[in-house]
Amino acid sequence: MVGEAVILAAGEGSRLRPFTEDIPKVMLPVANKPILEYVINAIRDSGIRKIIMIVGYKKESVMDYFGSGSRCGVEIEYVTQEKQLGTGHALFQARELVKGEEFIVLPGDNIIDKDVILKLMNSPTPALVVEESDIPSKYGVVEIDGDIIKNLIEKPPVARTNIVSTGIYKFDKRVFELLDELLKEGRTSLIDAILQFVQEGILYGVKGNGKWRDAVYPWDLLKMNEESLNKVPATISGKIEENVIIKGKVSIGENTIVHSGSYLVGPITIGEGCEIGPHACIFPSTSIGNNVTIYPFSEIRDSLIMDNSTIGSFSYISKSVIGRGTKISDHFSTLVRDSIIEIEGEIKKVKGAGAFIGGECNIESGVVIKGGAIIGKRAHISSNKVLSGRIENDSKVV
């Protein structure tokens, strides 16, 4: 019986910069909950209550949010991976804490369904969850024969199948012996151990159910957000003034004030302590974090607005991600368009992209951001600028 899960939550997620400048990828909010919380909840719902969490990059934000785990009804023990040397090295940190013979291992930044975890728990060991993907060459591409994985190639230029590894495994303690040997040879990736299992012909493939989600690039957060929003129940707390129209699945947190004349169409979720309106319009597939202020006469749709940010009056925001603590003044707009974006040397085509603005920026009045622009953390943009492309962290645009 599997009773433990090891979650790998030590990485930064550099392709999601600037949003991972101050929090690790696992803590990025999707429908107002960190990605990691979905992972933990799925593990809990599959009956596992003990979690060993490997933390590293900005670990305090993980520990501060989840604490000992009672928020999610699990027990969490933390292990620090001081340097992010690779997934094998990360998993190896858990060797002293894993008590049972068999356990599962998951990345903390991929949303997964509890049914798949249950299926994995009941499969022979070792096993790997595989899924179909539209972009297989971003992952480890798998060739499978019956239930046994015959081949696994990491990020091949040309993928021979569309079946990919999800990085969700079931192991027994032998994996630690293997990792020990590999680490001594300076091989720090978990893949090296996996390839050993593939070679021996003992790695089972467990097929997923299509509910596995990964966010690799900033715009993936919007898709993940949209899907997760459908699962947020409609609960309205806070203070809703007269003449506010609320339609569809809308969730509003405590101590939020929605001023008169505002128009809210679900699915949307609004956190705690926000001020909205008067006369603000928030349309579907939008998440608004805690302590966000949205001034009168602004429209927001298909966007993810993180905690503590401010949106000035007469603004239009669509298909955009706004980082924590960013202040946007009045008459701001995003021009949504199909874009070509370069991230870490890769060129990506994105349909209908808005703006991706990092945390703690200060954007003055009348700024227009063209679709696909990525604005770094703490950038200062003077009034009436029209921007596109990439603006680095701490830039001053005057």
């Binding site: 900005k58 993980v62 520990m63 969490i76 933390y78 202020t293 001034y295 503590n308 401010t310 603590g325």
Partner: protein, 597 residues
């Protein structure tokens, strides 16, 4: 100052009591003891941490027991003075928090009657007094015994003659009953039993309770039963555990963005704008602030904030002094994290007795202070376990800013746009604190530089003067390094004589009207060859010419900036203490809330 707990129910009392004592260790930890009933009364005591006691207590499966963690007030730290104390026959066991002022006289009287004492404590007289009054009804015996006591107490009593009930009584020391199903708890503080229940009944001064497995009854001093409403505590256990952090103090430092957000939650609005603490504040021109320790420094900061923003003249007093001296007029505002600080409670009572209106700023709902004061403002920091106050201090300062803004707006001293700017900057505060927390490594480096210095000074002007005092207090209380805070302008009036090249000075520099003078002060210090570490605004360009090492904080209005500045000093104290290998969450000779005077 001690922690007490009692349990009656279906679980193993040994484990529940020991577990509860661990949660109460912050209240004192020089020795501990436990009494269990299982066909007779069993007593175990040990010196040192609860762990030592745990190793000594055999596995007795009992369903009723009491325990105590001690912080000595009367009598040395040794096994015989540790609680529980028993009567001559060893049938009645008692644990006590507080001080019995007339214990010498009572002891003499009891000794004449033939009672044999085995310890030097004030508590033991209570055990013998109960024995003296016992005729088959333990509650009546306690009721008659406490009528003779002068001083403060929370006591919990069990006797093998009546092995199904726990008797509790309180006067001026905290005691709260936890209501479970087929089990009940009684303790000095909620975390002791929070794992099992979040339903509580608070006891009032002079009341006695009888706690059985299925029933809780509360009586007044004359033995009339009183009814008491059950309250739900909204803290989760998670909030009372370390969750991955090596120390509670570090966990609590990192919690500050969340606690500060909590302090402001629902109380401010930027768009309108408004600030409303929800206690119907009127126009106030003058205030007397009373507090002890870290809360006193928060009150000093409060004085600068209230005077500047709201034009309220403030008179800041130490509670321990105010209760004997000082003017009893107008409105008295007390600051106490726990709401149980004995000197502050005494000061509040004293003010009330003279007809003053009283307000308390506290973190603990339902605490004694909230029941004495006319109005309560909660800081909402959540439970704090580390002995060194961190998030409770910053939320107190923030509460003063909210108070000043509310009154400033009411008094029309602040224009709409000024108020809106202030509120917008408050909304930035949690992020600003987060930014400072991300400087952990930079501050650790500084701590390495400072760890071998025997003496460190902190200076500041305006609100940064109390912040300097608090920074020095944090450093000395957890790292045991000699640290002093001074108003920067006062250095040359004496303390200058102490400066050498081995006394680093930490200078808090604001970009306000004191900036130039502060740079002048730093120049004077440099002339004495003392290293200067500046804590400076991120936009302060001049400071680089003056300081040897600079830690930057995000630019915010002066009073608001004092909060991230405090966080820098907390982290510095933490890292120095850690490098020196100090027991950070339990510094020697200190206890969390001081419920003795």
């Amino acid at each position: 100052m001690c922690g007490i707990i009692g349990y009656v129910g279906y679980r193993n009392a040994r484990d529940i009591v020991l577990e509860g004592l661990k949660k109460l260790e912050y209240r004192g930890y020089d020795s501990a003891g436990i009494a269990l009933i299982k066909n007779g009364l069993f007593l175990f005591k040990e010196v040192g941490e609860i762990k030592n006691l745990e190793n000594e207590v055999p596995e007795i499966s009992s369903n009723i027991g009491i325990g105590h963690t001690r912080w000595a007030t009367h009598g040395g730290v040794n096994k015989k003075n540790a609680h529980p104390h028993v009567d001559c026959k060893g049938k009645i066991a008692i644990v006590h928090n507080g001080i019995i002022e007339n214990f010498k006289k009572l002891r003499e009287e009891l000794e004449i009657k033939g009672h044999k004492f085995t310890s030097d404590t004030d508590t033991e007289v209570i055990a013998h007094l109960i024995e003296e009054n016992y005729d088959g009804d333990i509650r009546k015996a306690v009721q008659n015994a406490i009528k003779k006591l002068k001083g403060s107490y929370a006591i919990v009593v069990i006797t093998e003659n009546e092995p199904a009930v726990i008797i509790g009584a309180r006067k001026e020391s905290p005691l709260v009953i936890g209501i479970g199903e087929n089990e009940n708890f009684i303790a000095s503080d909620i975390p002791a039993f929070l794992k099992y229940t979040n339903k509580v009944k608070y006891m009032e001064d002079g009341e006695i309770c009888e706690v059985g497995r299925n029933e809780v009854k509360i009586f007044d001093l004359d033995g009339n039963e009183v009814s008491r409403e059950e309250k739900i505590v909204e803290w989760s256990i998670e909030e009372a555990e370390k969750g991955g952090f090596p120390h509670y103090m570090l966990k609590e430092i990192y919690e500050q963005p969340k606690s500060l957000m909590e302090t402001m939650r629902g109380r401010i609005g930027e768009i309108e704008p408004f600030v409303d603490l929800g206690i119907g504040l009127e126009d106030i021109d003058e205030l007397t602030l009373v507090a002890c320790g870290t809360s006193y420094y928060a009150a000093m900061a409060g004085k600068y904030i209230l005077e500047e923003i709201a034009g309220i003249s403030c008179n800041v007093e130490l509670s321990s002094e105010y209760r004997y001296f000082g003017k009893r007029k107008g409105i008295v505002l007390a600051v106490t994290q726990s709401g149980e600080t004995a000197d502050t409670l005494a000061a509040l009572r004293e003010a009330k007795r003279h007809g003053c209106e009283t307000i308390v700023i506290t973190n603990v709902i339902g605490s004694s202070a909230t029941r004495i004061a006319d109005k309560t403002i909660l800081t909402r920091a959540g439970p704090e376990i580390g002995v060194a106050a961190t998030k409770t201090f910053t939320t107190q300062v923030l509460t003063f800013i909210l108070l000043a803004l509310e009154l400033g707006i009411k008094k029309e001293r602040l224009s709409h746009s000024q108020a809106r700017e202030y509120i917008a900057s408050l909304k930035k505060l949690p992020m600003a604190v987060k930014e400072v927390l991300d400087k952990g490594e930079e501050i650790e480096k500084l701590a390495k530089m400072l760890q071998d210095n025997e003496s460190i000074f902190f200076i500041g002007r305006g609100i940064n003067y109390p912040v300097a005092l608090e920074g020095a207090l944090k450093l000395k209380e957890i790292s045991y390094v000699h640290a002093e805070g001074f108003a920067a302008g006062e250095l040359k009036h004496g303390p200058f004589a102490l400066l050498t090249s081995d006394t680093p000075v930490i200078a808090i520099v604001s970009q306000d009207k004191t900036h130039e003078k502060m740079l002048g002060n730093i120049g004077e210090i440099k002339a004495r060859n003392s290293p200067v570490i500046a804590v400076a605004d991120e936009n302060d360009k001049e400071i680089a010419k003056f300081a040897d090492y600079i830690v930057r904080y995000p630019s915010l209005p002066p009073f608001v900036a004092s909060i991230p500045i405090t966080v820098i000093l907390q982290l510095l104290a933490y890292h120095v203490a850690r490098l020196k290998g100090r027991p950070i969450d339990k510094p020697r000779n200190l206890a969390k809330s001081v419920t003795v005077e």
